[in-house]
Symmetry: C2
Subunit: 201 residues, 2 copies
Amino acid sequence: MLEELPTTLRTLVRELSRLPTIGEKSAIRLAYHLVSHSNGLAESISRAISEAASTIKFCSTCFHLSEGEKCSICSNPSRDSSVLCVVEKPMDVIACERSGEFRGHYHVLHGLWSPIKGVSPDQIKLSELQMRVQEGAFKEVILATSSTVEGDATALYITRMLSPFGVAISRLAQGMPKGGEVEYADDFTLSRAFMGRSKLE
Amino acid sequence: MLEELPTTLRTLVRELSRLPTIGEKSAIRLAYHLVSHSNGLAESISRAISEAASTIKFCSTCFHLSEGEKCSICSNPSRDSSVLCVVEKPMDVIACERSGEFRGHYHVLHGLWSPIKGVSPDQIKLSELQMRVQEGAFKEVILATSSTVEGDATALYITRMLSPFGVAISRLAQGMPKGGEVEYADDFTLSRAFMGRSKLE
């Protein structure tokens, strides 16, 4: 299928396939769309990618993506500086912000502790997290890592790491997702939902 | 959601959203992936897009995408030059090639006749098709436009346009897709499948 394509198109398909959720078939469709439209789409996308890649860095405090030395959240004085939310990756910050429920600060780990995937604790931003908590400004640290084996392991690791500093540590509630039907819920979710049940009266 | 992002990232998200099948959420995910990986992904994708866009043109004969004046199919002497397959867009050429069933030449219309979408016959490569057929090299023209209102209308239009030239004109068979269950087939497909039924003995 690919060998029929002109060389530069084949290169483009290969590059696009490196993106998450883009398989070879989608990559071919995108590549064709990019080269067969003469409205400047290819040029402006190409420019936008290289401009974003060269200007976006990591915030020196929380490691969220940022254009400057500090990200827009760290440099916003109206955020609650007594609560810290620990997440795996920048996309998680966006998701938490969308929920509208959290107004504190973030710490982006850039990964989760995973012996299976060969990710050790020193490869993620854990010592930086410890330093921030050690400085003593936070009253509570919310662990918002995913409800997966790695997310659980990392949350446990952080809980132990931060226990000497006398800060409150909490984890996102685990239970039924909004709209989730009991019939189709997996065992794990349902058992967590039972354990975490809340009193109504 | 978007206003939280740094400017260059927002621009990138907007540009990526212009691609087919990429909504805002996917665009944000792709944008984050592009800027948060330091393995040169952003640079090489950006380069591949602009290189492909600047080298890929339309074949001067069949209007398929091509790096040179003529595409690899038009310049391949082993293709059957007596059959011409008419398709809507370059992706359709790839699909037909993948079927392995067709070894002739193609003509890419770059659109379908659609009064509703404001596409008139002179906006697609119909006069070029007429010229190719008029020159007399083809014995058969296969209309491989989609089984949609526009595909049907365009096929009818072409049939009338080419009728003076005494060339055989055929259309792709319409019927049950491979693996399709009768119970779930839509009325139109089933009625076409009845009309086009083939004798077994």
